[in-house]
């Protein structure tokens, strides 16, 4: 049995767990805990402290694992461990919370530094009224024109599939360019 993995990362409450849940064939093995910090509890009640774990079986010889990183800063020691051996990664950003954009940029930089694999950025919660436009997010996140910034609704399976496919296309393109 061959296994490969992709990592879903992003700031606290960006929608990483939901993203994996939307496509995983198993119930996501989420390691969530009640939040103790008042400011963070006002956003959601529980957060991922170690990692989420989803699975997509390709055939009897190949399985893709999706790992979600913990969003809270104090667990960032896990990022390097999770980034080892990944094919690529997805940075989830909550389009309605511009206060997290700076952190998202920082997470992106850190993962690129840990492993120079292809990545895409998913602008989550694009269905919300107060979601930022993609062009504005691209500027705020300081993404160059080559970086894929994709609209996403983590509860929508079709959109989650599109994000995963775009990442795989990037991986394939990089292979074909011989990098």
């Amino acid at each position: 049995m061959q296994t490969v993995k992709m990592v879903v990362t992003g700031p606290f409450s960006a929608g990483k767990t939901q993203f994996i849940q939307s496509v995983s064939e198993i119930d996501v093995v989420a390691t969530e805990r009640k939040i103790s910090n008042d400011a963070e509890r006002s956003v959601k009640d529980a957060t991922t402290v170690a990692m989420d774990f989803g699975r997509i079986t390709v055939d009897e010889d190949l399985v893709l694992y999706l790992f979600g990183t913990p969003g809270q800063k104090r667990f960032d020691f896990m990022w390097e461990i999770l980034s080892e051996g990944m094919l690529g990664f997805i940075v989830m950003v909550d389009s309605t919370r511009p206060e997290t954009f700076r952190e998202a940029r920082s997470i992106l930089e850190t993962f690129r530094a840990y492993a120079p694999t292809p990545f895409v950025v998913a602008a989550n919660k694009q269905d919300k009224e107060d979601a930022w436009e993609l062009d504005d997010m691209r500027h705020a996140l300081r993404l160059d024109a080559k970086t894929k910034l994709l609209p996403c609704i983590a509860t929508n399976k079709k959109q989650v599939k599109d994000v995963l496919l775009e990442l795989l296309y990037s991986i394939l393109a990089e292979m074909e360019s011989g990098k």
Binding site: V23, I56, V58, L62, S83, S106, E109, Y114, A115, M175
Partner: protein, 267 residues
Amino acid sequence: MALRGNLRDFTITQLLNLINLAQKTGTLIVDGPTEQAHVSFRDGKLAYARIGKEDGGLASVLHKGNKLNANQYRTISERAGNISDKELGLLLINAGYVSQEDILLNLQTYFTDIIRRLFTWVEGFFRFEAELLAPEDRINVRLDLENLIIEGSRQLREWEQLQDEIPSLDLALKFTERPMNNLNLSVEEWRVVKFIDPKNSMKQIAATARLNDLEIRRIVYGLIQAGLVEMIRPQSAQNQNSKNYPTKDKEEQKNLINKLIGRIQKL
């Protein structure tokens, strides 16, 4: 209870605030990453400071402040013998070289510079010795701590932001493809730029260029913002992280990705 602890739990700014509010008298001793600092207070005001093996004597401070030229400084160092700073100060004032105001202003500047350097220390142990007063033979000042506390708080916020932007100094730097024409870099920036290489971690660059954590982060942040460099995993570590695929064969790797694409399209 003894006032002692770790800078990670209690910052220099918090310590100054406590000393100011409690109007403490005594000496704060801080064991930093590479040297030790002594800062003395009287009734919650800064009285005296020295750091490491630096010559914080009056002649040296006045020389640094351009109040004594090199010849005058050398003559005093060689021939003044065991004369105390207080005696030396009186002699210099009486001889018309400096005024009392010059002396106090230069000492205040020197002591506050030491405090500013302490703000950059994030690792280390401290203890406050209430019995240990400023040295008798040195000139003491009486400087309010409020402005220093405000400055320290600003620096702390900067430190926290820089830590967010550059979470680990174990990462290396590489130049981006952006052309570097007509760059105006400071001396400090050049000290970092000349060591930029995917093999060198930021921690190694900082050690070689003798920069502390805050200084290297501040410089690297500026270079990243200017689009000149980007952070990468050090080359030695990158090689350990190359087993992303179950096979080394490029064609098999492509087939694997195509299989994944086919499977996800069918989900």
